[in-house]
């Protein structure tokens, strides 16, 4: 048991370090910092211009702070969920080192969790800068009415994203020509279905029902309540903050269990079929 824990910790440590190096050491730290800032801020500015062009009251529109916050925290979804699943394709196909990672005396699941940690660190940098830009540049008023809800929701949401990202990484272990697509399509789908930038009530009911069943919907709603004092989706207004947290606890636990199970099965199949060093040139 202790040996497995040690190996898992070793995997997390190495995965985090390696992930950070891959993400950041391709250029000078200054250029990297600009890179990490420009992308998310540009994403938010697209929404800003859309509101300025169309909404009668521009950024004073009551929806805007909710949309801003949803889009900002969605950066975690793209980076962590999609990033971790991409890790498998990148390590296997691009760097050709997945087989060596697997042979190393560390836990594979822990390694993937570590890569998720690196993505989380990177996303945190982008989220903080974007929040700062929103408060200073766009006049979004954030209140810290419920710090416990903020911390609880943030930690649970990040853990949940990492688990679901690892689950997708497990799926990516077994597929050849669609590896690059898995994370992007899931992240794109979540942007739409979770009502990241608009009220869920606008979606047709089957999509709305699907969105209400997805963990990031509750996560983003909890963060909105914690930082803005109110949520965006009328469908969730009857839930108390404690109930939202409880849903997050349950979905995070489910994500953890599913990811352990699916990665374990995928790992065994990948070893048996010789997929760990697959090179498809895609």
């Amino acid at each position: 048991m202790m040996r497995r824990l040690r190996e898992a910790w070793q995997g997390i440590k190495v995965g985090t370090w390696l992930g950070w190096q891959i993400e950041s050491n391709w250029t000078e730290p200054f250029l990297f910092a600009i890179y990490a800032v420009i992308k998310p801020v540009a994403g938010v500015l697209i929404l800003v211009v859309m509101y300025l062009v169309v909404a009668k009251d521009g950024l004073a529109n009551p929806l805007f702070p909710h949309v801003f916050l949803g889009t900002t925290f969605y950066l975690y979804v793209v980076n962590v969920l999609s990033g971790v699943s991409w890790t498998v394709v990148d390590d296997r196909e691009h760097y050709g080192m997945l087989k060596y990672v697997y042979l190393a005396p560390m836990h594979f699941y822990g390694y993937l969790l570590g890569r998720g940690m690196a993505k989380t660190l990177l996303a945190t940098l982008s989220v903080l800068v974007t929040l700062l830009f929103g408060v200073v540049g766009l006049g979004v008023r954030l209140s810290l009415d419920d710090p416990k809800l903020l911390v609880g929701a943030l930690l649970l949401g990040l853990a949940s994203l990492a688990f679901y990202g690892i689950l997708l990484a497990g799926v990516s272990l077994l597929i050849a020509r669609h590896g690059w697509v898995v994370g992007d399509v899931v992240a794109g789908g979540l942007y739409l279905l979770c009502g990241t930038a608009f009220p869920l009530s606008l979606l047709p009911w089957p999509l709305r029902a699907l969105g209400l069943g997805l963990p990031p919907t509750h996560w983003l709603e909890a963060l909105r309540r914690a930082l803005l004092g109110s949520g965006l989706h009328s469908e969730l207004s009857r839930l108390t903050s404690a109930q939202l947290l409880l849903i997050l606890v349950a979905t995070t636990a489910l994500g953890g269990a599913l990811s352990v199970g699916i990665v374990g099965v995928a790992e065994r199949i990948a070893v048996r079929r010789g997929l760990l060093d697959m090179q498809t040139m895609y």
Partner: protein, 272 residues
């Protein structure tokens, strides 16, 4: 074999895998349409949430479809020689007794044909799904603007491809960087004039900026009266100029960066 024939055979040879690739893995087509459609749908709902007229949903759908071309230019033109380096093909390209421009041209022609299938899918499904009015008033002019935009855009792709020849992982990250900031500057989801005339004109160096503006003027002439950057004819002139300039620069750039990469030993450097 004559030089021209050799050139044309290279173009066809490089375009071939891209055209065949579209049909070989058919499920890609679904994802290629689905992925932009998810984003487009989200932007349509954002517009609906703030009570925008339906034409703005048309802006989002047209923008989402043209994103397919920009993505193709970034990931399958600009970064292509980087991918070829990583998979060990670049040295074979450079050893082959043919024109590098023919290789780039083949890449561009194959890529834009394949991407047109995806973009058409996005427009078709998007327009049907959201019942967005798409009525072209001047069909020939619309087609002319569209083709000029593509020529200028893929000219830019050829230029970027030669510049990216020098880079390793920077190429990947730069392509990644040229997504959201370019979506913003080129006005993929809103009329670019909203950024201000100065910024809109500066962003016109990206051919999609004026191309999209002209296409929107032809689709929604009334709404675009307040938002146009330049008249359609002037925008066509600028696009034609950009097309010639980019292809000319790509030719010189390819020679320059290939020599530089040779001297610095970067042509076969993998995993960097």
């Amino acid at each position: 074999m004559s030089t021209v024939k050799h050139f044309l055979r290279t173009v066809v040879g490089r375009a071939y895998p891209r055209l065949v690739g579209v049909w070989r893995e058919k499920s890609w087509l679904i994802f290629d349409v689905l992925f932009p459609l998810l984003q487009v749908s989200a932007y349509v709902y954002i517009y609906r949430a703030i009570g925008a007229p339906p034409e703005f949903s048309g802006f989002a759908i047209l923008g989402g479809a043209t994103i397919a071309y920009w993505m193709n230019v970034l990931w399958s033109m600009a970064s292509q020689l980087y991918w070829e380096k990583e998979t060990g093909n670049l040295q074979l390209y450079l050893l082959a007794p043919t024109s590098r421009m023919a290789i780039l041209l083949g890449m561009a022609l194959g890529g834009l044909t394949a991407t047109t299938v995806r973009a058409a899918g996005v427009i078709l499904v998007g327009a049907l799904l959201f019942r967005v009015p798409l009525q072209v008033s001047h069909g020939a002019l619309f087609l002319g603007v569209f083709l000029l935009t593509l020529v200028a855009l893929y000219g830019l792709g050829m230029l970027l491809s030669s510049v990216f020849l020098l880079w390793g992982r920077e190429a990947w990250h730069l392509s990644n960087l040229f997504m959201e900031p370019v979506y913003l500057l080129a006005g993929f989801y809103f009329p670019v004039r909203a950024l201000g005339l100065g910024l809109a004109l500066a962003a016109s160096v990206i051919p999609i900026t004026l191309g999209l503006d002209a296409l929107r003027q032809l689709l929604y002439p009334q709404l675009m009266e307040n938002f146009r950057v330049l008249p359609v004819e002037a925008e066509m002139g600028v696009l034609a100029g950009l097309a010639v300039l980019f292809v000319f620069l790509a030719r010189g750039g390819l020679r320059f960066f290939e020599n530089l990469a040779r001297r610095e030993g970067r042509l076969t450097l993998r995993g960097q």
